[in-house]
């Protein structure tokens, strides 16, 4: 642009023209994008400000969750760390979450492999059946599983919670892994078979290395699903409770509320890092994949 301006330097209209274009562009961006921007700000505020009250009040030196703020304290965090019942519930949740993440990701990858790689009779109905727990209301599923546990005579424990969570987590694992497996060339696995590796070795040497961003994403996702699931855990918990049930039980005591808020703040920060990490991994995976496809 500077070229044309200097060339047309003596011409008055020539030097005016670019300014006109610029102001026109500004006007366009104001009428076109500003309302969208305002909408986006409101949207995010609506979504996150209530959540941000958690960390805010967790540092407030008062047992009442109300404005005005009284002062800064770390008391509630200290309370939290000194509460054995809470730590026990946290430990239980992590155990259940880890078991669910591993079990549902393993089940998910085999299901995803079958769905994307083989000609299966009745593939459609089969997929629907696996996806069914997604649409069955949690409370119905909870009652059904409770009835079954009683009928079969299984004692309620963390195991029953883990099994119920696996049931609802497998569809998510399968969806994440199917999209990953569909993303890479089927003939890579055929090439491995052709070069002398059997199906299992091919799975280890080709499928797993190529699917690992999906596997990691599935592990983190299913862990999160189990970690904050309440209804099924509520129905199927025995003596040991998971964190959401513990939190629920503490809401009866008003003086424990600030501690619950500080716990919530910790979970919030942890989830933020987990989600960011899994997204970074997923993008890196996509990057190497598209690079290889050229």
């Amino acid at each position: 642009m500077s070229d044309t301006v200097s060339k047309a330097g003596s011409d008055v209209r020539g030097s005016e023209a670019p300014r006109v274009v610029e102001s026109k562009h500004e006007g366009h961006s104001w009428t076109g994008e500003a309302p969208l921007f305002i909408y986006a700000v409101w949207y995010l505020a609506f979504l996150y400000i209530p959540v941000l009250f958690l960390p805010l009040f967790s540092f407030n030196d008062s047992i009442y969750v109300a404005f005005p703020l009284k002062g800064f304290t770390l008391q509630w965090y200290a309370d939290m760390l000194e509460n054995p019942a809470l730590l026990r519930a946290l430990e239980n949740s992590v155990k259940v979450g880890a078991a669910v993440a591993i079990a549902s990701t393993i089940l998910g990858i085999f299901a995803a492999k079958a769905m994307t790689r083989y000609r299966l009779p009745g593939k459609g109905p089969l997929t629907s059946f696996i996806m069914l727990p997604l649409v069955v209301p949690g409370i119905i599923l909870g009652i059904a599983l409770l009835v079954i546990s009683n009928t079969v005579g299984v004692d309620l424990s963390l195991y029953t919670i883990a099994m119920a969570h696996t049931l609802v987590a497998v569809p998510f694992a399968m969806l994440v892994l199917m999209s990953r497996l569909e993303g890479f060339d089927k003939s890579l696995e055929e090439a491995s078979l052709d070069l002398g590796e059997n199906a299992f070795q091919t799975f280890l040497r080709v499928t797993l290395p190529l699917a690992w961003p999906g596997i990691l994403a599935s592990t983190l996702l299913t862990f999160t699903i189990s970690f904050d699931e309440f209804i099924l855990a509520f129905f199927l918990a025995g003596n040991e409770v998971t964190l959401p049930i513990y939190i629920w039980s503490q809401l009866r005591f008003p003086n424990r509320l600030p501690m619950v808020l500080s716990l919530g703040a910790c979970i919030l920060v942890a989830s933020f890092f987990i989600v960011t990490f899994s997204e970074v991994i997923r993008r890196r995976g996509v990057g190497t994949q598209s690079g290889s496809a050229i």
Partner: protein
């Protein structure tokens, strides 16, 4: 001594539901041969190749490789290797590890495998490329590495699924010659799938032309072009003009056919299995015609027409000649052996005469 039935495909069919992708095919492939499966997409050539590799099991029949029946033998236990259409270079491994992928169970030491990989890189003219990542390679390089990865296994048969399809024209022509030279070098039997007839003609010892799950004809490139057995083959390989007609009898050596368009045609063309009476099709390739702008001094195998279109292509010219009794103009190709200083003006619709040899007029069924 090269075996005639190194690969033996016997009454083999493959059905996908009600679709017969491969329909009762039987033929043999010789040891050390460059053999092509040629046909339009959906003709069953890739399915046949995948049955040789073991990725598909025949619905009926069996396939023998070096005398061994292959029914139920999984891909990883077959003495064949494949170069895939997409090359299937493992994106998470570098070039060296890609080529060495199939050598894990060879029983060779790491040093020995490394040496063989380096030899392979020499063979495919990419020395020093071992450390390159899979995503740093061009299409032609990927194709060569896919080839090296298969050849290092020293397979009895190398299967190639349209490996040149993704390359640009110049590179493709270069790779055709290289691939042919490489095959002579290593002496391995190649089975090559392509829909490109020129590619098949350039490289193959023999070609099987396939259509609708059937093999129409298996022959050398020359025979396929000069002695097609059926109309489909004549039509698929190169360009050809068909004239419907009826056999009128014999005149000496020649069979006389009364045709629509060419009048009485005398043919001594041998090879084709055509009936000796009744309805028949006379087939003539464009370059078998002689075109002249003066009436030639011959009595048989001549027809008069009007020049409708002409295309000058440098080394040769194409003419389209309208003749009585035939809807479509006749395609004629003529070598420009002498310099043509003046373009032929087809708009004048000049009178021309076409002549042809008795030996060039093929007689085909139907």
């Amino acid at each position: 001594m090269a075996r005639e039935d190194y690969i033996s495909i016997r009454n083999t069919s493959k059905h996908f539901g009600s679709v017969k992708a491969v329909d009762d095919i039987s033929f043999n492939i010789r040891q050390g041969e460059f053999f092509s499966l040629l046909g339009a997409s959906g003709c069953g050539k890739t399915t046949l190749l995948r049955m040789l590799a073991g990725f598909e099991q025949p619905t009926l029949g069996n396939i023998y490789i070096d005398g061994q029946p292959q029914a139920g033998v999984p891909p990883h236990q077959r003495p064949v290797n494949m170069v895939f259409q997409s090359y299937a270079i493992f994106p998470h491994l570098n070039v060296h590890k890609n080529i060495a992928y199939g050598m894990r169970k060879s029983g060779l030491s790491k040093a020995e495998v490394d040496k063989q990989v380096d030899e392979m890189l020499e063979l495919i003219k990419l020395p020093g490329y071992g450390k390159r990542g899979a995503h740093q390679l061009s299409g032609g390089q990927r194709q060569r590495i896919a080839l090296a990865r298969a050849l290092i296994k020293r397979p009895k048969v190398l299967l190639l699924d349209e490996p040149l399809g993704a390359l640009d024209k110049k590179l493709r022509e270069q790779m055709q010659l290289e691939l042919r030279a490489l095959q002579r070098d290593v002496g391995i039997t190649f089975v090559f799938v392509t829909h490109d007839q020129e590619e098949a003609m350039t490289m193959s010892d023999r070609i099987a032309v396939m259509s609708m799950g059937k093999v129409l004809q298996i022959d050398s490139p020359t025979s396929l072009y000069e002695i097609p057995r059926v109309k489909e083959v004549a039509d698929f390989i190169g360009t050809i003009n068909f004239f419907e007609g009826e056999i009128k009898g014999k005149e000496g050596e020649a069979t006389v056919v009364e045709t629509q368009g060419l009048g009485k045609v005398h043919s001594t063309a041998s090879g084709a299995e055509a009936p000796t009476s009744g309805k028949i099709t006379v087939a003539l390739r464009p370059e078998k015609f002689n075109i002249s702008f003066q009436q030639p001094n011959v009595q048989t195998n001549v027809v008069e027409g009007v020049l409708q279109a002409a295309a000058y292509l440098g080394d040769r010219s194409h003419y389209y000649v309208k003749i009585n009794g035939r809807e479509a103009p006749v395609a004629v190709a003529s070598q420009n052996a002498q310099r043509q200083m003046q373009a032929v003006d087809a708009d004048k619709h000049e009178k021309v005469w076409l002549t042809w040899d008795e030996d060039s007029a093929l007689l085909l069924k139907g």
